[in-house]
């Protein structure tokens, strides 16, 4: 999983549909941020900077900043390529190189990108990382992913093993284990590779920035509790989470972005407006949904359209929490820098156990007054998908509200069947409507 640290299907990617895309101001800001990061990466070598790659969940952005690393997020690269309709080829390239059809397509899109000459999503080169910081959080594939990159393209891996919240809580031994790894394995390795000495006060400064941005992000996402919701908590939120889930958490730019974003969304809220869609204002909120599972990137706009065309708004999603679950109170804490980094890693959505995931969704259903739950099951992602049908069943049972199930994939266009998904969504919305009518009539 990961986030679109990025621009949505940018105008550049939409060369075939010249129709203008409607964006909020904050979106332009966000796009500029993302593009700047790609440019930073492209020019890192000539500026003598080292490059670190790391995964979105459990990413230690502030820590990497302490060593002056330029930061590359492979999941983000994959999804950016998908938004630009380039991922299909990359995935196939990796399959031809011996990767199995069955495994996560993020890995394959990433390997494909390396194989195809290391050109990044923006067309600028994306140099090979000097270090692969393997924050092994919530996903088995991460481990193999960096082993594969290391095996094929060199570079050093640094493992940060984050234990799973099997009992639904962070036991002290787990936190100690992670902190100990940070102190004794990760930081020394990063010092050695970067040649920069670790300064914990620098880390504290960054964490302060993170905290501010996290506060604003939570405020933005929670505006969806209102009726009508001024945001889409899934399709819209993937843009909002971009900077903070990737290379920008801890930077003043990110703080500024979230300040602007919050002001903008609060203005929409005051104006009683619904979410902004790529085609302008939402046609009117008819159904409020909670979504579990990552989106599909290859047909992102078509996928979104299936929702707003029917009057559906996603008010909350678990996916917008993959890079950090902030809405239940967690914040990075400058007073406990390493401990709070450890807790951040341990608390990522995919590192939660089943009972926690179910509780979280049920809470969303209530707090955001949703009509139902929709599960988008992603072929690639065992971490998300294995067992989702039980989540669906349990949430239905506990909330008494209907749930529906669709399937697609992250960046492999072969697994997106528009007709199939539309059929299910349509049936689902009609079912909700029929129930409502019946409730009114009987």
């Amino acid at each position: 999983m990961s986030t679109p640290a990025g621009s949505r299907a940018t105008p550049a990617a939409q060369t075939t549909t010249p129709k203008a895309v409607v964006k909020e101001d904050a979106m332009w800001l966000q796009k500029a941020l993302i593009n700047r990061n790609y440019h930073d990466l492209a020019t890192a070598r000539e500026r003598g900077r080292k490059i670190a790659a790391t995964f979105v969940p459990g990413n230690l952005n502030e820590l990497l900043m302490c060593f002056d690393f330029a930061r590359s997020l492979p999941e983000t690269n994959a999804l950016q390529n998908a938004l630009r309709k380039r991922s299909g080829k990359l995935v196939m390239e990796a399959e031809r190189d011996g990767q199995s059809e069955d495994v996560c397509t993020y890995v394959k899109a990433d390997i494909g990108m390396f194989l195809q000459g290391e050109v990044g999503p923006t067309g600028e080169p994306l140099p090979r990382p000097d270090v692969l910081l393997l924050s092994y959080t919530g996903c088995f594939t991460f481990m193999k992913w960096f082993e594969l990159i290391r095996h094929k393209f060199g570079g050093e891996t640094v493992m940060l093993h984050v234990p799973y919240q099997a009992d639904g809580r962070i036991r002290p031994a787990m936190r100690d284990y992670v902190v100990k790894q940070l102190r004794e394995t990760v930081i020394p390795a990063l010092e050695r590779i970067s040649g920069v000495k670790f300064d914990i006060d620098r880390l504290r400064e960054y964490l302060k920035e993170s905290q501010k941005a996290e506060e604003d992000l939570v405020a933005v996402l929670q505006t969806a509790k209102h009726r009508p919701s001024p945001i889409d908590g899934y399709f819209g939120a993937v843009y909002y989470i971009g900077p903070i889930f990737t290379a920008f958490r801890g930077t003043p730019e990110a703080t500024e972005y979230y300040r602007v974003l919050r002001a903008e969304i609060e203005a929409r809220l005051r104006a009683g407006k619904g979410p902004l869609t790529p085609e302008g204002d939402h046609p009117g909120e008819k159904y409020r949904l909670v979504v579990e599972g990552p989106p599909n990137w290859t047909h992102f706009r078509d996928f979104w359209k299936m929702f707003y065309d029917e009057g559906a708004v996603v008010v909350a999603s678990t996916y917008s929490k993959v890079g950090g679950v902030y809405d239940f109170g967690f914040r990075h804490d400058p007073a406990r820098p390493l401990e709070s980094l450890a807790e951040y890693c341990l608390g990522c959505y995919t590192n939660l156990n089943f009972a926690q995931r179910i509780d979280m969704i049920c809470r969303y259903m209530d707090d955001y007054r949703a009509d139902g739950l929709l599960v988008n099951s992603i072929k690639s992602c065992n971490s998300f998908s294995a067992g989702q049908l039980l989540i669906l069943r349990e949430v239905e049972k506990r909330t008494g509200r209907p749930a529906a199930f669709i399937e697609s994939d992250l960046v492999d266009p072969r697994y997106f069947s528009a007709a199939n998904i539309r059929n299910r969504l349509e049936s689902y919305f009609q079912m909700i409507r029929q129930k409502r009518l019946a409730a009114g009539v009987h």
Partner: protein, 281 residues
């Protein structure tokens, strides 16, 4: 001089060949048979093919040194031995075209790409996995649906200017895709070409996965005669930038497996004879 018979029991057809081997290592065909199975018992047909090639060459069973099966014929009672189909296709491919370094065999259900050296030694191979809309059977079903005879598929596909790709991985859903295309008024030629391209891209992928980068690729099996598929494969190889490969066919391609079996049969026969001689000494 000895005689060997190779029998390739496929899921679509049974192919039988009879070879005469001169002492100098050269071999020539004496007779061949290709019988579509069409819901009959393949073992029966194998037996029948065997009897017929012997009759045609005027030989008695005792005059045949080795009867080798390949394909699904592991337990034919009258066979001397069995070779697995990629082993035989590689050898048969070399016989038909000594320059070939890879064989692509597209049968009724599975497709395989086999990479071999100049002696027919299999270096690597890849098979299609279960979900295969790119099988011969699928093409045949669709052609029937469209009212196109098997031998017409190729020429028609070559006339296509705007092929429509089939996206579904599953043959059942692909069938519906095709029906949808007809309903949208897509011309038959474009549909067929689209299927050919899908199949070709799958083959190109298999080929690339074997690791071969240059040389001649020989199409074998029933679909080798489909010039539309050959053309599509050539296009895909260019698309995929595997330009070191040149795809060709051969009029006798469908017999490649059976030929390979007959040739390996002779090889084994010599080996066994040598062992027996040693044992006797």
């Amino acid at each position: 001089m000895i005689h060997t018979v190779g029998i390739d029991i496929g899921s679509g057809a049974v192919k039988t060949v009879l070879f005469r081997h001169a002492g100098d290592g050269t071999a020539e065909w004496l007779a061949r048979r290709c019988e579509r199975i069409r819901r009959r018992d393949p073992m029966e047909l194998a037996r029948q093919g065997y009897d017929e090639v012997l009759a045609e060459a005027g030989l008695a069973p005792a005059q045949v040194a080795y009867v080798a099966t390949t394909g699904e014929g592991e337990n034919a009672a009258f066979a001397t031995g069995h070779f697995y189909s990629m082993t035989t296709h590689a050898r048969g491919g070399i016989f038909l075209n000594p320059a070939a370094r890879a064989v692509v065999d597209i049968g009724a259900l599975n497709g395989r790409a086999i990479y071999m050296d100049e002696r027919g030694k299999v270096l690597a191979y890849k098979m299609t996995s279960q979900c295969a809309s790119g099988s011969g059977q699928f093409l045949e079903n669709i052609a029937r649906y469209l009212g196109v005879a098997v031998e017409e598929i190729g020429p028609l596909s070559r006339t296509s200017t705007n092929p429509e790709k089939v996206s579904s991985i599953c043959a059942v859903l692909a069938e519906t895709d095709v029906i949808n295309m007809v309903s949208r008024g897509i011309p038959t030629a474009d549909i067929l070409k689209g299927i050919h391209l899908s199949m070709a891209s799958r083959i190109a992928k298999l080929l690339k996965a074997t690791g071969i980068t240059r040389g001649t690729v020989l199409l074998t099996g029933g679909l080798a005669l489909d010039e539309g598929l050959l053309a599509a494969l050539r296009e895909e190889l260019v698309n995929e930038k595997i330009t070191g490969l040149e795809a060709v066919s051969h009029p006798d391609s469908i017999y490649a497996g059976a030929i390979g079996a007959a040739l390996w049969g002779a090889f084994r026969h010599a080996r066994l004879a040598a062992l027996e001689a040693r044992a006797a000494a």
